[in-house]
Symmetry: C2
Subunit: 504 residues, 2 copies
């Protein structure tokens, strides 16, 4: 490598380290806000977050950064870079170009708009007042359309948004995979609903002591191989995971006194996110590649642990005894009753309360609506009706109010169009990875049934976790499973599982 | 005000807001490190802290800041500024000038040296190996002397260091006040030691349940008027208070199972620091004036609450019943036994374990030693002998090893020469403030005896807390008490109290 390039690389790596440091600081400030910061300090805290975010943005869009990226990306130099540095340059360049295209003033207006809209949304949801929220939503859609114009439309306008959360994902691809999924799930859900063999889940809603729930959460994380010297478990209203660095990956959960499943599966879900972030290869530490590669792949890990493992029969054959020890009065049932209860399928109106099967229909509805907004110009005024129609058609039920309909999710008020598909992509990736995992570790379910979860964690580390953001989602899926994304794995997984549970 | 000055002021205030935001972020990062951050994340965290500290330093020493300060500080402009802005310009200018005089490279070397020295000190202390630490201490003294040369020596070289922690404090002033204190305290301590009426404090060292200790800590903070919606209480190895903004002032304490006084007085002490920071006037929020004015005045508040109030007889006449309810087995004594036990005086070797009376002698020893180093050129090699001599002479006891002698404190390994006097200044300020307080609130002790602590908090807020950094320590003392700092208030307070307790 030329001495000049070496010096340039050093300066570039130093800038990346700075950006990563701001990300770590912002991560801690946000974690702190959500886990117990005093409420009277929130206003000043928001100021501090604003100042640091702006400084990080300025670092990543500075002229100096532009020159470094040009120099390192130039033919002749690029080829001399180590693969990690080359990817780092590419990814940074992508962000740089994207951010440079938005005039700072326009972006500032958008930030103010979405932060206001989020509190108006909260109020509108509370009062089921869509008309009150509609003007804000219209503006957010309008700004998003201007961003798409500035960034440039990909194959379709909505593709530009998808790429923000799932790099290189397209509408064509989602139409293909969701198309293969929707019909099958609608008919499977209908068959399940018609089955006379409905599980009894009432015992899950008794009173469950919080300290005992916490004890089990800690126990199960430790079983999964979550490293407590690189993390901690706290409480928050909405559970989340935050990876500051592989040595500091924090998760939160929520203990409900009248629903033992909330903390149980919330903890395992966030634990899955955390295993991903704790096990990224050391070479990426301190760089912006040291994180999960996309929202979809991240969600595949949380959902793999929560659903594929955590709602499996072998898992509870091992762990139900432990749980019953903590709640002998409430769990006076046998393991199969418990297994069926935690896998109850029921068409419902609220996404975040949906079961593993119908959840995907909630997502497909949102995907189709977002596509209609950005590719077909459907107006905000028409969204509630469209929403209700789709719920009737796919789930057979319709909201009685917009509160449990189009107003239920926070995403749009924050401008996060293109995010929803990640959740179902996660489910599809998870099922496809699981298929390969079972082929490569034929002992998998025997091990799980003995409480040996670490070989699974190791396999995921070797195949997925360690690579961080070095590969795109599509590259990972193809390398790990030998095939592109295929929704039939999820269909087969769900059909097999639920035909058994509902004796279809 | 001229339009030009108005615009300049706006830009200046915006820079200050940025600096304050970095301070808040760094405050949270450090608080988090000390209250439970995962240990494997410490290395990356240190990187982030380094990056943010450097960015804040660059903001405060930028050429742009220099120009803003020159413009706002110029004759004709300065007079047009509001008092708060004028003070803000003065204080920022003082920091700017101080920081500008140190070449960045020299400062970097110093930061690396002191951060290494701190871990070498820990090891040296553990092994009582002064020789192992001496080379580092020599270097730190050397760097400090170079800083004094660059900053310029005030009346004496040590004065330049004192000013860092207690603005405008001088060696001449400390010689005067410590001179008035030392002799009196040495003879009072001797009389106390010779008294046949020694309190029995053995019952304080029984087993005290941690949860019950915590309950009392929370209770007593609430009694003091600590605002829990603007703060929180956590645990850490070394208790501390950190004021991020008046809406977010956090404290920590430490619960020892075999010493109920540790959390008790640690909590009240940090609570005193916190009341100061929670009650600064809103006009200062978001500026660098929104903090206590000096280490000494800060310490006066923690020590006022801990000792003057928290170790007083009326306080425990009210609260001992509450404490005994939590520990009925351990505290089967009467309130006067308890009062005498928590006020036991005993010459000892370790500063942080010292009682209210002899504590000041520990400080005077350190003050005299630091003065000897920087004003008389005493060498690091001679410090252990000098230390032991002074302990023999002032406290009548001498360390058996350097671990319980010259190596006991962390301060010098971090380069904090000039800090120690703050502790005794705090005691002297506290006694002098208390004298005025009793004159202005003649009901004080009756109120305390009824558990009415809020009038005291209000008086301190009106006289001291609200002003933040708007006034110097000397200005505050003179405005509140009508007199300059006078050590005789502390002497009178201690003599009155301990002659009673020890029946002298």
């Amino acid at each position: 490598m030329e001495n000049g390039t070496k010096g340039t690389l050093q300066i570039f790596r130093d800038k990346i380290k700075q950006i990563k440091s701001y990300e770590e600081a912002l991560g801690v400030l946000n974690w702190d806000l959500r886990t117990g910061a005093p409420k009277k300090g929130v206003e000043q805290r928001s100021e501090a977050i604003g100042v640091l975010s702006e400084a990080a943005f300025r670092l990543s869009t500075s002229d100096e950064m532009g020159e470094l990226l040009d120099a390192l990306g130039a033919d002749g130099n690029k080829e001399q870079l180590h693969a990690i540095d080359r990817k780092l340059v590419e990814e940074t360049k992508k962000d740089y170009d994207r951010n440079k295209k938005i005039p700072p003033k326009l972006y500032q207006e958008y930030v103010v708009l979405t932060s206001q809209a989020e509190s108006y949304w909260e109020e509108a949801k509370e009062n089921s007042d869509y008309a009150g929220f509609q003007p804000y939503l219209e503006k957010i859609i309008d700004y998003t359309n201007r961003f798409i114009d500035l960034w440039g439309a990909k194959a379709t306008r909505y593709d530009t948004l998808l790429d923000l959360y799932e790099p290189e994902m397209t509408t064509a691809e989602l139409d293909r995979v969701f198309g293969g999924l929707r019909e099958k799930l609608v008919s499977l859900a209908a068959a399940v609903a018609a089955s006379p063999h409905q599980p009894d889940r009432s015992f899950l809603g008794q009173t469950y002591d919080k300290e005992a729930q916490k004890k089990f959460s800690l126990f199960i994380l430790e079983q999964m191989g979550y490293d407590f010297s690189s993390g901690r478990l706290d409480e928050s209203v909405h559970p989340f995971a935050t990876g500051l660095s592989p040595g500091d990956v924090r998760i939160t959960t929520r203990y409900l006194p009248d629903d033992v499943t909330s903390a149980l599966f919330g903890t395992i879900h966030e634990g899955g996110h955390a295993l991903y972030e704790q096990n990224i290869m050391p070479e990426l530490i301190g760089t912006t590649l040291c994180t999960g590669t996309s929202m979809g792949i991240h969600e595949s890990q949380s959902r793999f642990w929560e659903n594929v493992i955590g709602r499996s029969r072998p898992f509870w054959q091992q762990y139900f005894g432990e749980l019953r020890k903590l709640f002998p009065g409430q769990l006076d049932v046998d393991v199969d009753d418990f297994y069926r209860a935690i896998n109850t399928v029921e068409p419902s109106l609220i996404r975040i309360e949906a079961d593993e099967l119908t959840y995907n229909l909630h997502i497909i509805i949102r995907y189709e609506m977002e596509k209609a907004i950005f590719n077909d110009g459907v107006k905000a005024a028409d969204l509630p009706e469209l929403w209700n129609e789709k719920y009737r058609s796919y789930l057979g039920i319709a909201p009685r109010s917009d509160k449990e309909g189009v107003l239920q999710d926070v995403h749009w008020s924050g401008g996060a169009f293109g995010y929803f598909p990640s959740y179902s992509l996660g489910n599809m990736y998870a099922a496809q990875f699981a298929d390969t995992l079972v082929k490569e570790l034929p002992e998998l379910w025997t091990q799980i049934g003995r409480g040996e979860l670490l070989p699974t964690k190791q396999w995921l580390t070797d195949r997925i976790y360690r690579y961080g953001k070095l590969e795109t989602p599509a590259e990972i899926v193809r390398r790990v499973t030998g095939k592109p994304l295929d929704p039939s794995y999820l269909v087969t997984y769900l059909e097999t599982k639920y035909k058994d549970i509902y004796k279809l």
